[in-house]
Symmetry: C2
Subunit: 135 residues, 2 copies
Protein backbone atom coordinates (compact mmCIF):
# COMPACT_ATOMS: atom_id res chain seq x y z
CA UNK A 1 0.00 0.00 0.00
CA UNK A 2 2.82 2.45 0.87
CA UNK A 3 4.58 1.47 -2.38
CA UNK A 4 1.34 1.97 -4.37
CA UNK A 5 0.94 5.40 -2.81
CA UNK A 6 4.52 6.34 -3.74
CA UNK A 7 3.96 5.12 -7.31
CA UNK A 8 0.98 7.43 -7.82
CA UNK A 9 3.36 10.41 -7.65
CA UNK A 10 5.53 11.19 -10.66
CA UNK A 11 8.52 13.34 -9.76
CA UNK A 12 12.29 13.38 -9.73
CA UNK A 13 12.11 14.40 -6.06
CA UNK A 14 12.47 11.90 -3.23
CA UNK A 15 9.10 10.45 -2.19
CA UNK A 16 8.16 9.12 1.23
CA UNK A 17 4.85 7.23 1.44
CA UNK A 18 3.36 5.66 4.53
CA UNK A 19 0.19 3.70 5.18
CA UNK A 20 -1.06 2.74 8.63
CA UNK A 21 -3.51 -0.03 9.49
CA UNK A 22 -4.90 -1.41 12.73
CA UNK A 23 -5.13 -5.18 13.12
CA UNK A 24 -7.02 -7.05 15.82
CA UNK A 25 -7.68 -10.79 15.83
CA UNK A 26 -6.94 -11.01 12.07
CA UNK A 27 -9.39 -8.21 11.23
CA UNK A 28 -7.99 -5.08 9.57
CA UNK A 29 -9.59 -1.86 10.79
CA UNK A 30 -9.35 0.99 8.32
CA UNK A 31 -11.06 4.36 8.66
CA UNK A 32 -14.64 4.02 9.93
CA UNK A 33 -17.43 4.33 7.35
CA UNK A 34 -19.73 6.18 9.74
CA UNK A 35 -20.37 6.68 13.47
CA UNK A 36 -21.91 3.22 13.88
CA UNK A 37 -18.80 1.68 12.34
CA UNK A 38 -16.56 3.78 14.61
CA UNK A 39 -18.49 2.56 17.69
CA UNK A 40 -18.15 -1.04 16.51
CA UNK A 41 -14.37 -0.63 16.08
CA UNK A 42 -13.90 0.99 19.49
CA UNK A 43 -15.98 -1.74 21.17
CA UNK A 44 -13.65 -4.28 19.54
CA UNK A 45 -10.52 -2.44 20.77
CA UNK A 46 -11.89 -1.77 24.30
CA UNK A 47 -10.09 -3.85 26.93
CA UNK A 48 -7.93 -5.58 24.32
CA UNK A 49 -4.51 -5.50 22.69
CA UNK A 50 -4.17 -4.75 18.99
CA UNK A 51 -1.36 -4.14 16.51
CA UNK A 52 -0.65 -1.01 14.48
CA UNK A 53 1.30 -1.60 11.26
CA UNK A 54 2.79 1.13 9.10
CA UNK A 55 4.38 0.42 5.75
CA UNK A 56 7.04 2.91 4.64
CA UNK A 57 8.21 3.33 1.07
CA UNK A 58 10.99 5.71 -0.01
CA UNK A 59 11.32 6.24 -3.77
CA UNK A 60 13.61 8.36 -5.89
CA UNK A 61 13.30 8.85 -9.64
CA UNK A 62 10.90 5.91 -9.91
CA UNK A 63 13.14 3.51 -7.98
CA UNK A 64 12.20 2.02 -4.60
CA UNK A 65 15.10 2.77 -2.25
CA UNK A 66 13.56 1.40 0.92
CA UNK A 67 10.46 -0.59 1.80
CA UNK A 68 9.94 -1.45 5.44
CA UNK A 69 7.21 -1.83 8.03
CA UNK A 70 6.92 -0.96 11.71
CA UNK A 71 4.67 -2.76 14.18
CA UNK A 72 3.47 -1.54 17.57
CA UNK A 73 1.26 -3.32 20.10
CA UNK A 74 -1.35 -1.09 21.77
CA UNK A 75 -3.40 -1.89 24.89
CA UNK A 76 -6.78 -0.18 25.33
CA UNK A 77 -8.30 0.13 28.79
CA UNK A 78 -11.96 -0.95 28.93
CA UNK A 79 -14.31 1.77 27.63
CA UNK A 80 -17.93 2.01 28.70
CA UNK A 81 -20.61 2.31 25.94
CA UNK A 82 -21.13 5.91 27.13
CA UNK A 83 -17.42 6.68 26.79
CA UNK A 84 -17.44 5.20 23.27
CA UNK A 85 -20.51 7.25 22.29
CA UNK A 86 -19.03 10.44 23.78
CA UNK A 87 -15.70 9.87 22.06
CA UNK A 88 -17.31 9.24 18.65
CA UNK A 89 -19.42 12.40 19.06
CA UNK A 90 -16.18 14.46 19.29
CA UNK A 91 -15.54 13.58 15.64
CA UNK A 92 -11.92 12.61 16.35
CA UNK A 93 -12.34 8.92 15.33
CA UNK A 94 -13.89 9.56 11.92
CA UNK A 95 -10.77 9.96 9.73
CA UNK A 96 -8.48 7.62 11.69
CA UNK A 97 -7.59 3.98 11.01
CA UNK A 98 -9.08 1.98 13.90
CA UNK A 99 -11.28 4.96 14.86
CA UNK A 100 -8.92 6.55 17.39
CA UNK A 101 -6.07 9.05 17.69
CA UNK A 102 -3.45 8.09 20.31
CA UNK A 103 -2.16 11.68 20.20
CA UNK A 104 -5.64 13.01 20.93
CA UNK A 105 -8.46 12.27 23.34
CA UNK A 106 -7.90 8.48 23.10
CA UNK A 107 -4.66 8.81 25.11
CA UNK A 108 -6.72 8.51 28.28
CA UNK A 109 -7.59 4.87 27.48
CA UNK A 110 -4.15 3.77 26.29
CA UNK A 111 -2.14 2.64 29.29
CA UNK A 112 0.57 0.81 27.38
CA UNK A 113 2.17 0.43 23.98
CA UNK A 114 5.11 -1.77 22.94
CA UNK A 115 6.94 -0.41 19.91
CA UNK A 116 7.19 2.96 18.20
CA UNK A 117 4.75 5.64 19.40
CA UNK A 118 5.05 7.74 16.26
CA UNK A 119 4.13 4.61 14.26
CA UNK A 120 0.73 4.66 16.01
CA UNK A 121 0.37 8.36 15.19
CA UNK A 122 0.98 7.47 11.53
CA UNK A 123 4.69 7.81 10.71
CA UNK A 124 7.42 5.82 12.51
CA UNK A 125 9.87 8.71 12.82
CA UNK A 126 12.88 6.76 14.15
CA UNK A 127 12.54 4.17 11.34
CA UNK A 128 12.35 6.92 8.69
CA UNK A 129 15.35 8.65 10.29
CA UNK A 130 17.33 5.40 10.17
CA UNK A 131 16.36 4.67 6.55
CA UNK A 132 17.21 8.19 5.37
CA UNK A 133 20.50 8.22 7.30
CA UNK A 134 21.44 4.92 5.60
CA UNK A 135 20.71 6.18 2.07
Amino acid sequence: MAEEKANTVSASEIILAADTTVVIENEILGKPLDETDAKRMLATLSGNRHEVLTGICIMWDGKTLALEAASTAVWFDPMTPQEIADYVSTGEPMDKAGAYAIQGIASRWISRIDGSYTNVVGLPVALVHRLISAL
Copy 2:
Protein backbone atom coordinates in the same frame (compact mmCIF):
# COMPACT_ATOMS: atom_id res chain seq x y z
CA MET B 1 8.48 13.30 45.54
CA ALA B 2 5.00 13.63 43.99
CA GLU B 3 3.49 13.54 47.50
CA GLU B 4 5.97 16.19 48.72
CA LYS B 5 5.01 18.38 45.78
CA ALA B 6 1.31 17.98 46.55
CA ASN B 7 1.94 18.84 50.22
CA THR B 8 3.55 22.18 49.34
CA VAL B 9 0.16 23.40 48.13
CA SER B 10 -2.45 24.41 50.69
CA ALA B 11 -5.97 24.40 49.26
CA SER B 12 -9.36 22.80 49.57
CA GLU B 13 -9.22 22.06 45.84
CA ILE B 14 -8.16 18.69 44.47
CA ILE B 15 -4.41 18.55 43.83
CA LEU B 16 -2.61 16.40 41.28
CA ALA B 17 1.17 16.24 41.58
CA ALA B 18 3.53 14.30 39.34
CA ASP B 19 7.28 13.84 39.29
CA THR B 20 9.17 12.11 36.49
CA THR B 21 12.67 10.61 36.68
CA VAL B 22 14.86 8.70 34.26
CA VAL B 23 16.74 5.66 35.54
CA ILE B 24 19.53 3.82 33.76
CA GLU B 25 21.76 1.17 35.34
CA ASN B 26 20.78 2.33 38.85
CA GLU B 27 21.67 5.96 38.10
CA ILE B 28 18.87 8.54 38.35
CA LEU B 29 19.05 11.24 35.69
CA GLY B 30 17.33 14.48 36.65
CA LYS B 31 17.44 17.71 34.69
CA PRO B 32 20.93 18.44 33.31
CA LEU B 33 23.02 21.02 35.17
CA ASP B 34 24.53 22.41 31.98
CA GLU B 35 25.27 21.44 28.37
CA THR B 36 28.20 19.21 29.37
CA ASP B 37 25.91 17.33 31.75
CA ALA B 38 23.24 17.00 29.03
CA LYS B 39 25.83 15.52 26.62
CA ARG B 40 26.96 13.04 29.30
CA MET B 41 23.36 11.93 29.92
CA LEU B 42 22.59 11.50 26.20
CA ALA B 43 25.82 9.51 25.70
CA THR B 44 24.66 7.22 28.52
CA LEU B 45 21.20 6.78 26.95
CA SER B 46 22.52 6.33 23.36
CA GLY B 47 22.08 2.76 22.13
CA ASN B 48 20.62 1.63 25.46
CA ARG B 49 17.35 0.92 27.23
CA HIS B 50 16.33 2.99 30.24
CA GLU B 51 13.26 3.36 32.47
CA VAL B 52 11.07 6.41 32.99
CA LEU B 53 9.23 6.51 36.31
CA THR B 54 6.49 8.97 37.21
CA GLY B 55 5.01 9.20 40.67
CA ILE B 56 1.44 10.50 40.84
CA CYS B 57 -0.19 11.90 43.97
CA ILE B 58 -3.81 13.04 44.19
CA MET B 59 -4.74 14.97 47.34
CA TRP B 60 -7.93 16.58 48.53
CA ASP B 61 -8.27 18.74 51.61
CA GLY B 62 -4.88 17.59 52.91
CA LYS B 63 -5.63 13.89 52.47
CA THR B 64 -3.79 11.64 50.03
CA LEU B 65 -6.46 9.93 47.92
CA ALA B 66 -4.15 8.14 45.52
CA LEU B 67 -0.42 7.52 45.28
CA GLU B 68 0.82 5.47 42.35
CA ALA B 69 3.69 5.20 39.93
CA ALA B 70 3.97 4.40 36.23
CA SER B 71 7.03 2.87 34.59
CA THR B 72 7.94 2.84 30.90
CA ALA B 73 10.97 1.27 29.19
CA VAL B 74 12.52 3.42 26.44
CA TRP B 75 15.03 2.30 23.79
CA PHE B 76 17.36 4.92 22.29
CA ASP B 77 18.96 4.28 18.91
CA PRO B 78 22.72 4.96 18.87
CA MET B 79 23.50 8.69 18.58
CA THR B 80 26.77 10.00 17.12
CA PRO B 81 28.73 12.59 19.17
CA GLN B 82 27.79 15.13 16.46
CA GLU B 83 24.06 14.28 16.81
CA ILE B 84 24.35 14.67 20.60
CA ALA B 85 26.12 18.05 20.25
CA ASP B 86 23.58 19.27 17.66
CA TYR B 87 20.64 18.12 19.82
CA VAL B 88 22.01 19.83 22.95
CA SER B 89 22.56 23.05 20.96
CA THR B 90 18.80 23.18 20.20
CA GLY B 91 18.22 23.81 23.92
CA GLU B 92 15.47 21.17 24.09
CA PRO B 93 17.33 18.91 26.58
CA MET B 94 18.08 21.58 29.18
CA ASP B 95 14.87 21.49 31.27
CA LYS B 96 14.05 17.80 30.81
CA ALA B 97 14.76 14.85 33.11
CA GLY B 98 17.26 12.66 31.27
CA ALA B 99 18.05 15.54 28.86
CA TYR B 100 15.52 14.63 26.16
CA ALA B 101 11.91 15.24 25.09
CA ILE B 102 10.28 12.20 23.46
CA GLN B 103 7.55 14.50 22.10
CA GLY B 104 10.17 16.73 20.51
CA ILE B 105 13.29 16.32 18.39
CA ALA B 106 14.39 13.18 20.32
CA SER B 107 11.55 11.17 18.73
CA ARG B 108 13.87 10.41 15.80
CA TRP B 109 16.13 8.29 18.04
CA ILE B 110 13.40 6.47 19.97
CA SER B 111 12.41 3.38 18.00
CA ARG B 112 10.58 1.61 20.80
CA ILE B 113 8.94 2.11 24.18
CA ASP B 114 7.14 -0.42 26.39
CA GLY B 115 4.59 1.19 28.68
CA SER B 116 2.73 4.48 28.75
CA TYR B 117 3.89 7.11 26.22
CA THR B 118 2.38 10.03 28.13
CA ASN B 119 4.33 8.85 31.19
CA VAL B 120 7.55 9.58 29.25
CA VAL B 121 6.18 13.02 28.31
CA GLY B 122 5.63 13.67 32.03
CA LEU B 123 2.08 12.69 33.01
CA PRO B 124 0.69 9.15 32.58
CA VAL B 125 -2.72 10.23 31.29
CA ALA B 126 -4.43 6.81 31.28
CA LEU B 127 -3.31 6.17 34.89
CA VAL B 128 -4.60 9.58 36.02
CA HIS B 129 -7.87 8.93 34.15
CA ARG B 130 -8.25 5.57 35.88
CA LEU B 131 -7.45 7.02 39.36
CA ILE B 132 -9.86 9.94 38.94
CA SER B 133 -12.62 7.67 37.56
CA ALA B 134 -12.21 5.43 40.62
CA LEU B 135 -12.48 8.28 43.14
